[in-house]
C-alpha cells in the first residue's frame, strides 16, 4: 500500500504569537515542532478520507494528548472515535502502539519515545483484539 501523506501547517500560528507580536519579534525562541507519523486503522481512514499514514506537525512536548489533539484538529470527524468526546479518555477497544511497545496505559501527558518525536517511528492507533 502506498501511504497518502497529508501535511498540516502548524495550527494557526497561535503558538508563535503573543498578543499581536510574534515570538521572533520579542526575541523569544519558537517552540520545537516535530513531524509525527500516525498510522490509522482502516475504518478511521475511511472516516477521515485519509491514507493509512498521516503526518502531523506537533509542538513539544510530544505526548499522546498533543498528537491526538493535532490529529483531531486536522480531522475533526475523528473526534469521539478515538477518545471520548467529553472525558478524552481512550476508547476501550483502541490501543496506542509505538516502537513495539503498548503505550495505551501510559499517561496521556507522558512524552512519547524519541523515535516517535524524531519521526523515525510511527505512533500507531490500532483496534484492540476483541472477539473470537
Amino acid at each position: 500500500m502506498i501511504p497518502v501523506v497529508f501535511k498540516m501547517p502548524f495550527v494557526e500560528g497561535r503558538a508563535f504569537n503573543v498578543g499581536a507580536a510574534t515570538l521572533d519579534e520579542i526575541g523569544a525562541a519558537a517552540p520545537e515542532v516535530s513531524m509525527i507519523h500516525v498510522i490509522l486503522p482502516q475504518h478511521l481512514r475511511t472516516l477521515a478520507h485519509a491514507g493509512a499514514e498521516v503526518e502531523l506537525e506537533v509542538a513539544a512536548p510530544v505526548t499522546q494528548r498533543s498528537v491526538l489533539d493535532a490529529l483531531e484538529a486536522r480531522y475533526p470527524m475523528l473526534r469521539g472515535a478515538i477518545r471520548d468526546h467529553v472525558t478524552l479518555q481512550r476508547r476501550a477497544f483502541l490501543r496506542f502502539f509505538a516502537c513495539e511497545q503498548d503505550l495505551s496505559h501510559e499517561s496521556p501527558d507522558a512524552p512519547l519515545p524519541d523515535a516517535v518525536t524524531s519521526g523515525k517511528e510511527p505512533f500507531i492507533v490500532i483496534g484492540a483484539i476483541a472477539g473470537g
Binding site: P9, H49, M77, H85
Partner: protein
C-alpha cells in the same frame, strides 16, 4: 407508479433495496459503511430524500450519517455534500456528540441507574439505537440511545440536546439494562398531537410525554413481568417494541419480553392479547397500514432460546387486534430455521395491498406484497439484520 425503498441496517453495513409498486424485482445497493454496525436508518416523511443513519462500532464509537438524495450519497451532518471547511480543504464532519444533560434543567440530574448486579452504575453513552425523524420538519430528528435517554437535533443531526425530563422524572435509579444493554429503542410521534410522544426502554418500560418532551410519565399499568421482584412495578419492565397505526393515534400494540399487549388509551392501561400464539416471547410488532386492527408479530421460542419456535419461520397475524392469531407461512422456511427477528427489523409500506417486510439474524429480508398471505426473500445472505424500514415513494 409508486415505488418502495427498504432501508436495511446490518451488523456489517447498510443496504438499500428498491422496487416498483409490484415489489417483485428488486435492486440491491450496498453495503454502505461497510464493516460498521448500522443500528437504524430511517427516512423523513417531510422529505423522503432525507435519510438518517446510526453508524456505530464498539471500537470507534458513534457516527451519525445523513443522506439528502435518497441514499445515493452520505455525509456526517455538519458537512453538506461538496462543502469543505478546514483551511486546507478537508471535510469538516464531526462524529456526533451525545452528552447527557447534567444541568439544573433536569431538576435533579441523574448520574446512576441500576446495574446487572443491583448496584448503582454511572450513565455512559454507548450508541444510538433508533432515529425518528420529525413528521413535519426534515431537520428535526430524535435519537434513542444507550444508556437510555432521548436526544433531539433541530439542525439536521449536527447538534444534539437531551430531552432530560425523561431521565429526570425520578425513576431512573430503578432502570436497568436488559441483555442487549439499557437502550431506548422505540420512539413514536403522534401525528395528531405534536406535543405527544411515546418511548420504550429495555428494561424500564414505556413512557409518554404530553408536553413536547419536557416531562414524561411511565405508562406501564397492566404489564406483568415475573423477572422483577414486583411484577406490577411502575418501571423495570423489558418492553421490546411498540407499534401504532398513525391513522389511529393512541391505540398501541406492544411486544414485551414475554406477552403481547395492547392499549386503547394512549398507554395509560394495557391488557394482554397473546391469545393463541405458540409463544408470546418476541421482539418485533407492527400494524397494517390500512387496517388498524391487523397486527403482526414473529414469536420467538423463549428468552433463553432466541430463535423461532419449532425451527419454523412464521409470522403471526391477528385481524382482531390480538388474541386470535393465524400463522403466515407461505414462502417462509418451515424446517431447520433458527433465526431471530430483532425489534426494529419489521416495517410496513402504505401501498394497497399493504407490504410487510422483516429481516432476520440470518441475513434474509422478506417481503410480503399481500399483507402477509405470501412471502418472498428480497435477499438471503446479508449480515445479521438489525433494522428494516420502508419508504413508500410516489
Amino acid at each position: 407508479m409508486s415505488r418502495v425503498r427498504v432501508l436495511v441496517g446490518t451488523r456489517k453495513g447498510a443496504f438499500i433495496l428498491t422496487a416498483d409498486g409490484k415489489r417483485e424485482d428488486w435492486q440491491v445497493d450496498g453495503p454502505h459503511f461497510s464493516g460498521w454496525e448500522m443500528y437504524h436508518l430511517k427516512g423523513s416523511t417531510a422529505d423522503p430524500n432525507r435519510i438518517y443513519a446510526s453508524q456505530t462500532s464498539g471500537w470507534f464509537g458513534q457516527i451519525i450519517q445523513r443522506s439528502d438524495d435518497g441514499g445515493k450519497t452520505w455525509h456526517q451532518p455538519g458537512t453538506p455534500p461538496g462543502e469543505t471547511k478546514t483551511p486546507d480543504g478537508m471535510p469538516k464532519g464531526e462524529s456526533n456528540k451525545f452528552v447527557y444533560d447534567t444541568s439544573a434543567d433536569t431538576g435533579k440530574p441523574l448520574t446512576t441507574h441500576q446495574f446487572y448486579d443491583g448496584t448503582q452504575h454511572p450513565w455512559e453513552f454507548k450508541r444510538v439505537w433508533h432515529l425518528e425523524p420529525s413528521l413535519t420538519d426534515s431537520d428535526t430528528v430524535y435519537a434513542g440511545i444507550e444508556d437510555a435517554a432521548i436526544f433531539r437535533s433541530t439542525d439536521g443531526g449536527k447538534n444534539w440536546k437531551e430531552l432530560s425530563g425523561l431521565r429526570g422524572h425520578g425513576t431512573g435509579p430503578k432502570w436497568q439494562p436488559g441483555a442487549g444493554g439499557m437502550c431506548l429503542h422505540t420512539i413514536i410521534l403522534d401525528p395528531s398531537n405534536p406535543q405527544r410522544m411515546w418511548i420504550a426502554i429495555s428494561a424500564a418500560g414505556a413512557f409518554r410525554t404530553d408536553d413536547g418532551g419536557k416531562s414524561w410519565k411511565p405508562i406501564n399499568r397492566g404489564l406483568k413481568s415475573q423477572y422483577i421482584p414486583d411484577p406490577d412495578a411502575e418501571v423495570g419492565h423489558c418492553v421490546h417494541h411498540i407499534a401504532m397505526n398513525p391513522r389511529r393515534p393512541g391505540v398501541l400494540f406492544m411486544q414485551k419480553h414475554w406477552d403481547v399487549m395492547r392499549s386503547d388509551d394512549a398507554g395509560d392501561n394495557w391488557k394482554e392479547v397473546s391469545g393463541n400464539l405458540p409463544t408470546d416471547f418476541g421482539f418485533v410488532i407492527d400494524v397494517h397500514a390500512h387496517e388498524p386492527e391487523t397486527i403482526y408479530v414473529v414469536p420467538i421460542k423463549s428468552d433463553g432460546e432466541h430463535f423461532v419456535h419449532e425451527g419454523k419461520l412464521r409470522v403471526y397475524r391477528s385481524k382482531t387486534g390480538g388474541n386470535e392469531w393465524e400463522a403466515l407461512t407461505k414462502g417462509l422456511p418451515q424446517k431447520d430455521c433458527y433465526v431471530n427477528v430483532l425489534r426494529d427489523a419489521m416495517a410496513v409500506d402504505t401501498l394497497d395491498k399493504c407490504g410487510i417486510y422483516f429481516g432476520t439474524t440470518g441475513g434474509q429480508v422478506y417481503c410480503s406484497a399481500d399483507a402477509g398471505d405470501s412471502w418472498n426473500p428480497i435477499v438471503r445472505d446479508l449480515p445479521a439484520v438489525l433494522s428494516v424500514e420502508v419508504q413508500t415513494l410516489a
